[in-house]
Each structure stands twice: as structure tokens, then as C-alpha cells.
């Protein structure tokens, strides 16, 4: 999971607090048990809030549901601990899975509201379904944890149990963000369109993490119910959510160490602000405000560099096999577009475009601003849905398929405005786009090769800077998905003449390897010498098509492009 130094830090962080609590005893043991419980919930919340960047307000509710399941199973049903604990993981996870379908595709402000709405409904049920939940009084007499006949009633045993569960949770958290998964999640969070165009299934990734975060919350709730012996609607109230949020923001959003430190810090806060008595949540609010203003990446955000980063340590060694990435993994499929049409309101952006790109062919797509070039690329890559028409890759009908499936089938693209991912080194950005089926060393070799081909040599360096570097990185990212057909949206924009020459050479070598290229550009002097065939678009329709020299003389193309009189 986490390399080198980080492993030692995590081990120390899981053992030291337990030793301190055992040494101090009494109150400190109860507080540290609570910290362990919250740390589990925070680990789950890091997945959804930190990794996906989605402000869920349902993590407190998942904790509460976990607590109620344990309470009900223990008080009413007399279930054994393993059974009730498992149910406390499964029930919130299933609820998360069900609500995920409508909720996960929402924009952030609706996502926050929807998760808050779900929490409110859970609270209403908890308070009002008196026969089952005990209403406002809650459930009393939740039995202590019994494992293999031994009852964990002493505070020491409970502390050890909770922190062992936390250790397991840290391992599970590490597994979920292992290796290239972490890079994929970063790309997905920071540049979702680029992620989808690189073959990353955004919906599946989000669903996995949301369901997992709910299970973490449920586990925390189950342990809390056992530790205090009571489940009341207070566990479903918003302040549980705020506590988890504060721990995550103050501790840090990515690294598991942050979850543990944030939880330990905040459970001790009431102790340090004793003069506030039961109003310690004022201190939580103040700490949260200070943290978001002064430490946007949390406490541990500052230490993450030293810890080797939240996204694993150094990448594994490349595969010594020098042939990887030298030649395309697959070629030989023709891209066929038939009668693609797309309109925005009354404006027809793409008006029945049919064209094809053969393996190894460079097709230039020209046309004035607003002629539908970028929309066409979006229709082909699946980011937008056409009203009519079909997209075929070889024998494969890709019409109606989501972008990640098209990318996996061999259809890659670059973007007119490439998204830069701050904090993700170029090599990691490209690794995120390598097919998930490749093993780590092969992927590293492939990623390095793609970066080299795109003209980036200092690949481990920090985030990309400048337009040419961002474009080169975007090209490398597109190549990493091992495309058969590559769509390039204005790849030469903002480049110097020298950089354009380099780019043209690079694109020609890709075509020579058998990749078909569809290149959108404004500049005739870049495109005409490069392309085998040029298609001219005006008002969404193909007005001219042919060899570059023919297009240069074609009256329709000239009229569309240079604004001359229509022929």
C-alpha cells in the first residue's frame, strides 16, 4: 500500500496512541477508543471527500445506520457479534449503493444537498419509528463484543479491539487506493473528461468508493454502539457529520495518517477547551474555520511530501522489456462516422457529417470558428451524444457507448484546453491512463515511452507548466491508452514554430506505426503539409474533402475558411 517511511509512520501511529492510552488509563482510554472509532469513519470519508472530491454529507448518517443495525441486532435479535458487525457494514453499503444511482452523477452542490436529504430522512426514521428504533430514547443495553466466547467488557480490551479494527481499516483503505488506482482517482477528480477519455470508468470508480465509505462509516457506528451500550438518534444528527468533516479537513484529505491524527486531535479538543463545557462544538467550528483558511490541505497535507505523498511512494521499476510501447499494441481498424448530427436548441452544430479515418492515415479537419469541429470530436469520443448517426471502429459499433468504453476500444483523444492536474507528476498522469490490465512494471515502461514520444523527458518532475508542456502531456496521456485512432483537438494552438515542427514529426511517426489520426486545427500551414487528406467543415457540414493541395484550391473551402464569396 504505502511505501517505505510511510509504512513505519503508519505502524507507529497505530501503536503509540494505544500505548499512551493504556499507560494513562481511565478517561484517556475512553477518549482514545472514541478516536479510533472516528478514525475509521474518517478513513471512509477520505475516500469520497478526499479522493473523489465530492462533499458528501451522508457519512455521519452511515455511521448512525451502522450503530442502529448493531443496536437492533444486539437488543432485539440477539445476534452474535460477527453477524451484527457484518450487518452493520453491509446495510449502510447497500443503502449507499441504492442511493448512489441518482446521487453520484449530481453536480457538487446538488450532491451535498441530496446526501443531506438522505441523512434527514434517516434521522426522521430514527426519531419517529418508535416501535423499532425506540424513538427519541433509543436502544438501551447493546451487548458488549463477544469473540470466541470471550467478552470484551474491559475498557482496555475495547480499546485494543477498536484500534485493531482501525488497523484493518487502514489496510482496506490502502488497498482501495493502491498503485495506479490512486493516480486514476486523482485524474478523475481533477480532470473527469480526460479521465473518461483515458478509459477510466468514472461511474464505477465513484460507486466503489461511495459504497466503501459507507461500509467504513457503518463499522465505526457498530463499534460506537458496543462501546457506549446505547444507540440514540443523536448518532444520526448533523453534528456527527460535522465532526467527521472537521477531522478530515483538519487532519488531511488523502493520507491515512491524517485520519488518525485528525481524530485524535479533535476528540481531545473538548478536554482542552473545558471552559466551554458542553458547548465545545464552538471550538470545533473555530478549528474548522481556521483549518480551511490556513491549511487547505490539512495538517498532514504539509507532511505528505515527507511521507512520500498520499499517492504511494516512488513508482515501481520499469519493465526492462524495451519493446513495450515501441509499436502500437493494436492497429488496423478504420474509424467510420455516419451522418452525425447535433444541435443546441435551434442551432445545428454538426449537420450530418460522415467521414472515415483509415489506419495510418492523417486526416486534417479544418473549418472556421463555430463550424462544429470540437463538437464533432466530442461526438466521436462520446463526451456528447448525437441526435442521429453512428460511430464505428472497425466492425465495432460504438454509437451510444460511454467515453471510457470507446477509449478502451482504441479511440483516444486530446483536448483543446488540456486539463492540468496539479500535484500529479507527468509520469503519474500518464500512468493513470495506461490500461488497467497491464501490470505495474509494464505500465511504467509504457508511460515513459509515451512521454518520450510526446517530447517530455523530465518525467518525474513536478506539475506541468506552460501550454506546450500541457499539450505534450495530454498527448502522452492519450497515447497511454494504446489507441488505434487518435483524435487531436487543436494540438498546435499556442505552440512556437519549432514546437509545431516537433509535433508534426511526432504525429507522422505515430501514423507510420499504423495509428489513424484525425487532427483539428486552424492553421493551414501546419495542417496541409501534415495531412494525407483534408476535410473542410462549415456550419456543421462537410463542404469540401480531398488531398491537401486540392483543398487549398477548393472554392468552397476557401469561401468557408477565408470568408470569400460562396461559390
Amino acid at each position: 500500500m504505502i511505501g517505505g517511511r510511510s509504512t513505519w509512520v503508519m505502524t507507529a501511529l497505530l501503536i503509540a496512541p494505544v500505548l499512551v492510552a493504556l499507560a494513562l488509563g481511565g478517561y484517556e482510554q475512553r477518549i482514545m477508543t472514541l478516536a479510533g472509532i472516528y478514525a475509521i469513519a474518517v478513513l471512509g470519508y477520505q475516500l469520497i471527500f478526499g479522493r473523489l472530491g465530492a462533499l458528501s454529507l451522508a457519512q455521519g448518517c452511515f455511521l448512525g445506520i451502522g450503530a442502529y443495525v448493531t443496536g437492533l441486532a444486539g437488543v432485539h435479535l440477539d445476534w452474535s457479534f460477527p453477524a451484527s458487525f457484518l450487518a452493520s457494514l453491509v446495510v449502510p453499503a447497500v443503502i449507499a449503493g441504492i442511493v448512489a444511482i441518482p446521487v453520484l452523477r449530481l453536480e457538487s452542490h446538488y450532491f451535498a444537498l441530496a446526501t443531506l436529504g438522505i441523512s434527514q430522512i434517516a434521522l426522521l426514521v430514527g426519531v419517529n419509528w418508535t416501535e423499532v428504533t425506540g424513538g427519541a430514547n433509543g436502544l438501551y443495553g447493546v451487548p458488549e463484543i463477544r469473540i470466541a466466547g470471550a467478552s470484551l467488557y474491559s475498557p482496555e480490551a475495547l480499546l485494543l479491539m477498536v484500534w485493531s479494527a482501525l488497523a484493518v481499516a487502514v489496510l482496506a483503505h490502502g488497498y482501495l487506493i493502491k498503485g495506479r488506482r490512486a493516480h486514476r482517482l486523482t485524474l478523475l477528480r481533477e480532470a473527469p473528461e480526460a479521465a473518461a477519455a483515458s478509459g477510466i470508468d468514472i461511474g464505477a470508480s465513484r460507486l466503489t468508493l461511495f459504497v466503501a465509505s459507507a461500509a467504513f462509516g457503518g463499522a465505526a457506528g457498530a463499534l460506537q454502539a458496543h462501546s457506549i451500550g446505547v444507540v440514540s438518534p443523536a448518532v444520526l444528527e448533523f453534528q456527527v457529520m460535522v465532526t467527521i468533516l472537521a477531522m478530515t479537513v483538519i487532519g488531511g484529505r488523502g493520507h491515512p495518517a491524517a485520519a488518525i491524527l485528525g481524530a485524535i486531535l479533535l476528540v481531545h479538543l473538548p478536554e482542552w477547551f473545558r471552559f466551554l463545557e458542553s458547548h465545545y462544538l464552538i471550538a470545533y467550528g473555530a478549528a474548522l474555520l481556521l483549518a480551511i483558511v490556513l491549511m487547505p490541505n490539512g495538517f498532514v497535507g504539509r507532511l505528505e511530501e515527507w511521507l512520500g505523498g498520499a499517492d504511494a511512494g516512488s513508482p515501481p521499476a520499469p519493465d526492462p522489456d524495451d519493446t513495450i510501447g515501441r509499436k502500437p499494441a493494436r492497429t488496423g481498424a478504420t474509424l467510420g462516422l455516419r451522418d452525425l448530427r447535433k444541435s443546441y436548441g435551434g442551432v445545428v452544430a454538426v449537420d450530418g457529417v460522415s467521414l472515415s479515418v483509415e489506419p495510418g492515415e492523417i486526416v486534417g479537419l479544418i473549418g472556421p470558428n463555430g463550424s462544429g469541429k470540437s463538437t464533432l470530436i466530442n461526438l466521436v469520443s462520446g463526451l456528447q451524444r448525437p441526435e442521429t448517426g453512428a460511430v464505428h471502429l472497425g466492425n465495432l459499433d460504438l454509437s451510444g457507448r460511454p467515453p471510457h468504453e470507446r477509449a478502451r476500444a482504441g479511440l483516444a483523444r486530446t483536448f483543446q484546453a488540456p486539463a492540468t492536474v496539479p500535484g500529479l507528476a507527468p509520469l503519474r498522469t500518464v500512468l493513470a491512463a495506461c490500461p488497467a490490465t497491464l501490470d505495474e512494471p509494464t505500465a511504467v515502461t509504457l508511460a515513459r515511452r509515451c512521454l518520450e514520444r510526446a517530447g517530455i523527458t523530465d518525467m518525474a518532475a513536478g506539475p506541468s507548466e506552460g501550454p506546450s508542456r500541457a499539450r505534450a502531456l495530454d498527448l502522452a496521456r492519450a497515447l497511454a491508452s494504446e489507441p488505434v485512432i487518435l483524435l487531436l483537438d487543436e494540438p498546435a494552438a499556442g505552440l512556437t514554430p519549432n514546437e509545431r515542427d516537433d509535433l508534426a514529426r511526432c504525429l507522422k511517426s505515430l501514423a507510420k506505426d499504423g495509428i489513424g489520426l484525425l487532427v483539428v486545427d486552424h492553421s493551414m500551414d501546419f495542417l496541409l503539409p501534415l495531412a494525407d487528406r483534408v476535410v473542410c467543415l462549415a456550419s456543421g457540414a462537410v463542404v469540401a474533402e480531398g488531398a491537401p493541395e486540392e483543398i487549398a484550391r477548393d472554392p468552397a473551402a476557401i469561401a468557408a475558411y477565408f470568408g470569400g464569396p460562396s461559390p
Binding site: 441518482p102 444537498l113 436529504g117 460535522v242 468533516l245 479537513v249 467550528g285 474548522l288 474555520l289
Partner: protein, 300 residues
């Protein structure tokens, strides 16, 4: 039962009108800074307490010499809350300018938490009653009995909503505020002081929350834990009314108020709440970009 309908309708409209003031403030901030103000409900709660204190202070100072105490307290509360709005924007927004909206979301959660528990520490959890707008009792039309306070609330809220609309559409200040909301960079390039406009927007938004708090504090009392539900109603109103739309939010808030009162009277309050949240989830399920779509285009 049928005689109760006019009174219930008036109650519902009064509640909805107060919700509309809260929602207007909520949308103003969304449009100005692109972020949700999670503290809006707690600001309503705080202004309820401000109205209680102002009323106590005024009647302690002048006794019964003040004829329409509530009418005096309303603008004073708004003034106090406008001041608090300035402080609020300086604390929860200004240091986070240029950061992702989620940071502002979180900072306003933090301020809401502070307000909630500071009120709890200062006033205790028991509900307090604010001043009535007018000291009259009820109006009787045949068998229909209407409360004067409720009609006064509707009148005051209606005037404030109309005033906000006129301020934004008819005055130079309003045009500036809207320009900054639409495109801060262009507005700044045209010589508008963006930071000042945002601060003014916060003052206006929080003053509107203040009006709602003062108006609601008489019939519904005020308690430290009230904020969350007010915020939720405003948030839902903005979602149903079209993200970023002032008229849509006000209308949706009005409908939510009427729905809540009617449902509570004929079924139960719990059913009203559950149906509201359930309905919200259904709307988001079928219309992922809100009931009426969004007016704010995502800037890329």
C-alpha cells in the same frame, strides 16, 4: 375543517414568505461567489435572538411608550444583521477568495456551527419568543378568522422581496451587484469594485435572513437549533426554483411554506418533512440539474 383553510393558507403563505426571504439571501450569495452559504439558517436563528434582545431592550428603556415595537425591531434587526453579514463575509469568504467553492461551503458550515453553539451557550436551549409586528389580535370575516400578525408578516415580507427585486433591477448598485455575479472579471475590468460588491451582497443576504428571523420569531419562537432546517428549506427552494434564479427560489420557498403548513395540519409535521426530502430526491433523480435547469453556466 373547511373554515380552517383560509387561516391555514395565510399561515402557510406567511411561513413561505419568510422562507422566501431566506432563500433570496441564499441565492444572492450563490450568484455572487458561486458557493453555498451553509450558515444562512443559523444566521436566521441568530437574528431571531437579535430581535428578542432588541425588543427586550427597547421595552425596558421606553416601557409601553413604543407603540409598534415589532415594526421598529424589524429594521433594527436587519441593520444589526447587515453588520454581521459584513463580518461574516470577512471571516468566511474573504480569506478564501479564489479557492474552490467547497472551501467556502466548509467555512460557512464552521461559522454556522459557531453561531449555533454560541447561541446555545448564551441563551440556553429553550425557545424564546420575539416581538409581534402589530399588537392587534385577529380579524373576523364571517366564520373566517385571520391572525393580524400573519397578515403583517406577509405584508412585510412582500415589501422586502419587492424591494430587493427593485434594488437589483432598478438601481445602479443592483446592476453592479448583478454584473459582479455574472462575470467578476469583466465587471472589474469595467471599473466595478468586485470585493466591495461581494461584501455588499453578503450584507444584503444576511439582512434578508435577519428579516426572516425577526418575522418568524413571534409565531414560531426561536431556539439555537433552528438554523439547520431553515437552511435546508432555502437550499431545497433554490434547487426546485432553478439554481441561481431569484424569482424561482422565492416562488419555490413560498410553495414549500404552504405545503408544510397544510401537510402538518391534515397529516403530520413528520410527513411534511419526509415528503419534502423524498420529493427533493425524486426531483434530483429525474432532473439532475434541478427542476427548472440552471441559469449559471459552468465556467471552464
Amino acid at each position: 375543517m373547511a373554515e380552517a383553510i383560509p387561516q391555514l393558507l395565510v399561515n402557510g403563505i406567511a411561513l413561505g414568505a419568510a422562507y422566501a426571504l431566506i432563500a433570496l439571501g441564499f441565492v444572492l450569495v450563490i450568484n455572487a461567489v458561486g458557493a453555498v452559504n451553509f450558515a444562512q439558517g443559523d444566521l436566521v436563528m441568530a437574528s431571531g435572538f437579535a430581535a428578542v434582545i432588541l425588543a427586550e431592550t427597547l421595552s425596558a428603556g421606553f416601557g409601553d411608550a413604543v407603540p409598534a415595537l415589532g415594526l421598529l425591531v424589524l429594521p433594527l434587526t436587519m441593520l444589526v444583521m447587515a453588520g454581521l453579514g459584513l463580518l461574516f463575509s470577512a471571516l468566511a469568504y474573504a480569506p478564501l477568495r479564489g479557492r474552490p467553492p467547497v472551501s467556502i461551503f466548509i467555512s460557512t458550515i464552521a461559522v454556522g456551527l459557531i453561531l449555533h453553539h454560541a447561541a446555545n451557550a448564551g441563551f440556553g436551549p429553550e425557545p424564546r419568543i420575539g416581538p409581534a409586528l402589530l399588537q392587534a389580535d385577529t380579524l373576523r370575516f364571517g366564520s373566517v378568522v385571520l391572525s393580524v400578525q400573519q397578515i403583517a408578516v406577509i405584508g412585510a415580507a412582500g415589501l422586502l422581496i419587492a424591494g430587493t427585486g427593485a434594488l437589483l433591477s432598478r438601481t445602479q448598485l443592483g446592476r453592479r451587484l448583478r454584473a459582479v455575479a455574472q462575470d467578476p472579471e469583466i465587471a472589474e475590468a469595467m471599473g466595478i469594485n468586485g470585493a466591495r460588491c461581494v461584501a455588499l451582497t453578503f450584507m444584503l443576504a444576511v439582512a434578508l435572513a435577519g428579516a426572516a428571523g425577526a418575522l418568524l420569531s413571534n409565531q414560531f419562537f426561536v431556539a439555537p437549533g433552528d438554523g439547520g432546517l431553515f437552511m435546508l428549506k432555502a437550499y431545497i427552494a433554490v434547487t426546485l426554483g432553478g439554481w441561481g434564479r431569484l424569482d424561482g427560489a422565492a416562488l419555490a420557498a413560498l410553495l414549500i411554506g404552504v405545503f408544510e403548513v397544510m401537510m402538518a395540519a391534515y397529516v403530520s409535521y413528520v410527513a411534511a418533512e419526509a415528503l419534502l426530502y423524498g420529493g427533493l430526491l425524486l426531483v434530483l433523480f429525474f432532473r439532475p440539474s434541478g427542476l427548472l435547469g440552471e441559469t449559471i453556466q459552468r465556467r471552464t
